[in-house]
Assembly symmetry: C2
């Protein structure tokens, strides 16, 4: 369904011929080698020639010249900027082009998100931002029908699931493992149905998925962009170099060689930032179509036409084919035997954390806007709202943003945008303090230079004088806020023989000789595992005889499968600290790696707060720092990692579910992304690690789980970024990164009961703010927006002001099918029971019915 | 006069302000790194990104968006190609843009000719070809009012004279000696009146001449072409990198710093092959104009506007200034102390000769078309006419064509085009032979690879069997044809002691020890000079401590002022040959340099036929080969060279007439171009050398004259061509070049009486063709198109079919004022006396009255 309106604008095809769908497109990174604004304007073209403003100018002009011409546009972050600068008459022209199907939006989110390092909640938000703009601007005609992730470096199942649930008709991408691609070409399985959820009943998360034949580039010899050097169609016999016959015959043989099931194939005619001058493209494609189709009079069976992915997809639907089924994902991605794109799972760990923390603030900011009403948008320090953060977060989802694969100055720009988002969110966040005259300039406004912070701290109103903490203002989800303890600071002792950490739920033992973790006992279930943990670094390859491939921002390639231990000492413990609320062991592994092992009273998880950096590179070795857990759990090569923070996929060492893998990189070829959690298990025990940012994970040995924490490299990896990944940090000597891992030991069957709320608690961690002076007598010391707690299975994903009349509420079932006896069941809830009788909240009730129409809300059947 | 129609389309200026005229333009080389067709289509963009078809597409689209926008176009060779591919509606749009003054043609020849190595007759032809197309297509509105030679590497006075006589209102160029430019900037003499002829009464050859401030580029930081990386106007305060204030203040200070006399300055907004995507240019210029002029509200006195050179010139005329007068030329051109562009005077000597010889064929072909009528355009080998040669010759005038400064494959292309011109001219040239079945495929048609030939031979019908010479068919000007002699072949003797060569007019002596020329006696005037001649080579600089400048296609820079003698032997004579018609001394200087010194019975000139090459470079030295005449003439540093084959200019060693020269290159800085002749003289004797191609010449020592004959170099000279000038020749081991110098010794006051007809005779040398069998009884063995000889001072420059109704006849007075007592007088002639009563010839009579209207004919006052 839903393709009726497409049909009317789709070009006619010839059923008896091979139809070649030319899809003119541009791939406009929302930041990479240049910042998003530099890309928009075409600034700093000495870095990369790219100016999106001109692309849209030029394409709109060219589309008007011939109604047969087509163009697709993807990145709403750019289209929005461009649209805002257009005259009424240009807007009218563009609207007409959209209505006529000449200009078609595909994907349509604010950006083309990364799939390895993004969290689903932020992906949904960024899609919403883009799609809402298109819907508001163009109505139904602006609705993208096809998801289009031509560039991301591996594909997450959860992304496909989200796209399916959003109502996309199909999904196209360009990059997949070279072995997988070879096989699919041979077996004509380049097109398939992706069953993208193990929890949702088919076809809820089924999505037609097509792999494009040339990545996202034109076939060789047919690139007519200003950035290319292929010869144009030289069709004047009076001039030298007449080449029509040659071009036509080459095009026909390329078309015939394509290995697809139907008599339709798609050819992407465009690439990175192309169509800045659309005329050479269209002028030559016009000629190509003319001369290739003219051969039909001589018996040629090739018919070439301007088309779009949705028109191509419509033809596939009409072909009534049965497609192969895909139910795992497309990680890891390799484009050669020694070229695994598994480094970026961890690249720029501080940016990855800042992005995640910013999501937490955005959700809080959204909620406060709803709860505070219009007056929340102005405060003692000026006006502000969540819009800046919404856009900054949307931009940060880009596949060269949170992925960590951008140039350093661009990473700085993403961080600066987030910081500006924080500043604007201060307005709803900071309560008026009554005193006048203090007006804090927002952090990160023009002229400031903001870098990603190693461990971002809650942002408070900077009043420029000493402040006395007062009662915290409740924000966000009250349930996750740990109350400040009245206990004294922990006492520390410099002990070489570590005693166990122990509160009521967990006991943690240390090896008295090495000072390393040695065991973990769940005191509730009375189960124990032997467990050691240590820090190592892989020596980054600088290329070798087998391959010149280096480790870089994208690629992970260790020069040996055996990592070096960070600590050269036999005993790493520095001290043990404790009071009635917390017990800590502080470990120093080297001058640049330390860790606090922390157990809180009342907690079922162990917190490992690691600090890594500045990673030394004076020895000439790039370093990829991991922490590895080694246990006596019989994991037998299996491990598990989440997909975009949501469903969990099984991983298996040196194995791919859909093809017979030839493993060529024993370490890098076994790395997978985690966004929130990973685990190993056997029949009795499951060791789960919950993370607070996206990272790379693997299990190389039986019972072990390793997580890559930080990377500092000395070479570029030849994928375009043109810089070694060596973040300078505050002092220029290398970035220090701090982070946390939460560890649980449980029976496998109840593991999700712990890790689901734990992970969501980390994602939406409470944010603290403070105000001067004692609370007024009228101050509310407690507040909850909920009349009653939601059922444990139900997670409040979004509560956000939509317009003056309504708010957006997203609720989701947060357990997978079958993962929890207690909570994996369907839940029914009555929203009015759980919310205050606030008019705005009441108004949002029908929003869950907007599914497939506005793409704003998940399917309500999810709850049924 | 004549500016009335310009005024109506010129933009308003502000008399009280500094008006900055932005002149959007593109500089489209008619061949350089790519061939003219590759440039037109945008083929081989890997060599250089350039596609003129897109430039014109894009500019026409952008001009339609705002009537204030302007563009100038220069090279009709490209415009013609583009126009021929346009639809009627596009043609209508373009015509309207021309009529409204939005699109203005400047210069308007087929190409922007080289000024150092072109002959005036071919310059006039190529201008005619372009201007006629513009006139036929657009009428008066298409007429260029301004000559525009922004790129040629030095400027010839004869070019300025031609432009003045053609009715141009002014002339702009970009390149002049850096010392000259410095001085002119300081004295505000960047604009002047060039009195471009010493013969014509002022103001006949007076031409307003302006030197552009930034060559032909935009001011630094304001290039918005796709080929540039300057930041665009980033005027959205919501985005990063807002830069309006900075750009506006930089533009205003650049404008104020310009050193021109009036309150108008011109800024060229464009460069090589720019505006392929005109949108970034115009979009940002629109903004620049808006924001700069907005500052007028704050007191700024700078007013910026779209304009054209003719509108700028109109403002200068209104300013009623007195301009400084210039009466010499702008050679040689240097852009730095060691960077004299005097190498290209000689670069590619074979191409320079082939171009000149092709002109001779073209004139013959033109005349035969007129004399033969319409039936001359088809012959036994198919149809053909002079059009191909007209275009090939016009293209060859380009400043990277006959100049020899193009890449090798482009030089090959020019030669191939000329060869195709020869093939097409065979049709009028070759008389029907009566026998059928022989159909000679034209030389150089598609698929053939044609290289410049060392010494081009007259092209005959290649009948693929032995041919017996029969009576020659008269062609061209009969007076210059030397009848074949019935004498026996010369007898040769291997003599080491050379005896003099001597016929009735000239005696030539040789040094019995060295075998070199030792003296010359004019037996009529009984004057003798001591005269030696030898061959040398300058060792091409590969850069040194003073400067990294190398010798290359453009630049001549010897690494020492002392050239090496080619011959290491004491005696060079190989043999002396003679019969009753000719006496020869054959000299061998080295395996790669030889010469025949030849004296014909009845000749007043000595012929030196030199053969140079393959120039050996195995020693690692690039070589610039000269021949030098050393005499006892007291030339005292003065010497003389012609300008484009017409008027002669005085040269003086280490001296420039208009500024106090600091000589930094004692050899290269004294080189000048010759196109047809050079001489030295004292009170009694003048030694004149007449050449058959363009070359470089100098006089370094008293009484000496040196001519550069050939160059083979191993380095590029960093002016863009990107290749060392090392012509491979037929066998890949270096090109062999053969040529002739004609030497006369006369009293100075009668020298022109000899060298004028001698030079014209070389330019329009007779071309021979043969036919099989004995002449039929009805064959005319003699024919002249002239009823009576023209007066000696009058030269038939052009006789060419114009259209079916008329022919073009150009006659010129070929003597300078005062150079000949006998012939420098005004001449009156009645055309009907001199021509057959052929209807076509009769019809052309009024053509000389078209002066200033059609630009086709020289001023008739020239004859009065």
């Amino acid at each position: 369904g839903g393709t009726g309106s497409v049909a009317s604008s789709c070009p006619a095809t010839k059923p008896s011929m091979l139809n070649v769908h030319l899809v003119p497109h541009t791939h406009d990174d929302v930041g990479w080698l240049k910042t998003v604004d530099q890309y928009f304007y075409g600034g700093r073209n000495y870095i990369q020639h790219a100016g999106v403003q001109y692309i849209l100018d030029s394409v709109v002009a060219e589309l008007q010249k011939d109604p047969a011409r087509r163009f697709i546009y993807v990145e709403t972050a750019f289209f929005f900027r461009w649209w805002s600068q257009q005259s009424r008459s240009t807007r009218n022209i563009v609207t007409q082009l959209v209505q006529e199907g000449c200009l078609e939006f595909v994907n349509g989110g604010w950006c083309m998100s990364d799939e390895a390092s993004t969290h689903y909640s932020s992906v949904i938000d960024q899609m919403t931002l883009g799609l809402r703009f298109l819907n508001d601007t163009f109505g139904e005609c602006g609705r993208p029908r096809v998801a289009w992730h031509i560039d991301p470096f591996g594909h997450a199942r959860e992304h496909a699931s989200i796209f399916a649930q959003m109502g996309y008709d199909g999904f196209f991408f360009g990059r997949l493992d070279y072995q997988d691609k070879d096989r699919r070409m041979k077996t004509k399985e380049m097109e398939m149905v992706w069953r993208a959820s193990a929890s949702l009943n088919p076809p809820t998360a089924d999505l037609f998925t097509g792999v494009l034949p040339n990545g996202y580039n034109p076939p060789p010899g047919f690139c007519w962009d200003q950035s290319c050097s292929d010869d144009p169609v030289q069709d004047d016999p009076a001039l030298e170099d007449y080449n029509v016959d040659d071009l036509v015959s080459r095009f026909i043989s390329i078309s015939k060689a394509a290995l697809y099931k139907t008599n339709h194939i798609v050819m992407t005619m465009g690439s990175d930032f192309q169509y800045e001058n659309a005329n050479p493209w269209y002028k030559n494609m016009d000629k190509l179509i003319h001369y290739v189709n003219a051969q039909q009079a001589n018996g040629s069976q090739v018919n070439v036409l301007y088309s779009t992915p949705s028109c191509y997809l419509q033809e596939l639907n009409l072909a009534n084919q049965t497609w192969p089924l895909k139910s795992d994902d497309f990680f890891p991605y390799a484009d050669g035997p020694h070229d695994f794109w598994t480094g970026y799972f961890t690249s720029r760990p501080a940016l990855k954390r800042y992005e995640r923390l910013s999501n937490s603030l955005l959700q809080t900011c959204n909620q406060l806007e709803v709860l505070g009403g219009p007056k929340s948008r102005s405060g003692p320090f000026g006006k502000g709202d969540s819009d800046t953060m919404k856009r900054a977060m949307a931009v940060a989802q880009h596949h060269d943003a949170v992925s960590g694969t951008e140039k350093q100055h661009v990473a700085d720009d993403y961080a600066k945008r987030l910081a500006e988002g924080w500043a604007h969110c201060q307005v709803p966040y900071v309560r008026p303090v009554g005193s006048r005259g203090h007006r804090v300039r927002p952090v990160g406004s023009r002229g400031h230079r903001v870098r990603p912070v190693a461990a971002a701290r809650p942002l408070c109103a900077d009043l420029k004088r000493p402040r006395v903490p007062s009662a915290p203002t409740l924000s966000g989800r009250a349930s996750a806020l740990r109350r400040p303890s009245p206990a004294a600071p922990p006492l520390c002792a410099d002990l070489h023989a570590a005693s166990p950490l122990c509160f009521q739920y967990l006991k943690v033992t240390f090896d008295p000789n090495t000072g390393l973790l040695s065991g973990l006992t769940n005191l509730e279930t009375q189960q124990s595992v032997q467990l050691t943990q240590n820090f190592y670094w892989y020596n980054a390859s600088v290329g070798n005889a087998e391959s010149s491939q280096t480790s870089g921002a994208y690629i992970f390639r260790p020069n040996s499968s055996t990592p070096c231990a960070v600590s050269k000492n036999s005993n790493t413990v520095l001290c043990v600290c404790q009071n009635s609320v917390v017990q800590e062991v502080r470990q120093q592994f080297s001058p640049w790696v330390s860790q606090v092992v922390r157990l809180y009273e009342g907690s079922r998880e162990l917190e490992l707060e690691w600090t890594v950096g500045p990673v030394p590179v004076e020895d000439g070795f790039g370093k990829e720092v991991i922490t590895r857990f080694d246990s006596n759990i019989s994991s037998a090569g299996y491990f598990y990692s989440d997909s975009n923070g949501r469903e969990v996929l099984e991983r298996r060492k040196d194995y791919r579910p859909t093809w017979d893998l030839t493993q060529t990189e024993p370490i890098a070829g076994n790395y997978y992304p985690i966004n929130s959690r990973a685990f190993i298990k056997d029949g009795k025990a499951q060791l789960t690690v919950v993370t607070e940012r996206s990272q790379g994970v693997s299990s190389i040995y039986n019972g072990s789980l390793e997580i890559m924490l930080h990377r500092r490299l000395l070479r570029d990896d030849y994928r375009g970024v043109g810089e070694p990944l060596s973040e300078p940090g505050e002092f220029g000597n290398g970035l220090v990164v701090r982070g946390r891992l939460l560890l649980t030991l449980t029976p496998p069957e109840t593991a999700a009961d712990s890790h689901r709320p734990l992970a969501q608690g980390l994602v939406l961690q409470p944010l603290l703010s403070f105000q001067e002076g004692a609370p007024k007598p009228t101050s509310k010391l407690e507040f909850s927006a909920l009349q009653a707690a939601l059922p444990p299975a139900v997670h409040l994903l979004t509560l956000s002001q939509w317009d003056s009349e309504s708010v957006l509420l997203r609720l989701e079932h947060q357990y997978e099918s079958g993962e929890s006896k207690a909570f994996s069941q369907p839940v029914t809830l009555n929203l009015q029971v759980h919310t205050h009788t606030h008019s705005a909240v009441t108004a949002l009730l029908p929003c869950c019915l907007l599914y497939r129409l506005s793409l704003l809300c998940f399917d309500c059947s999810f709850f049924s």
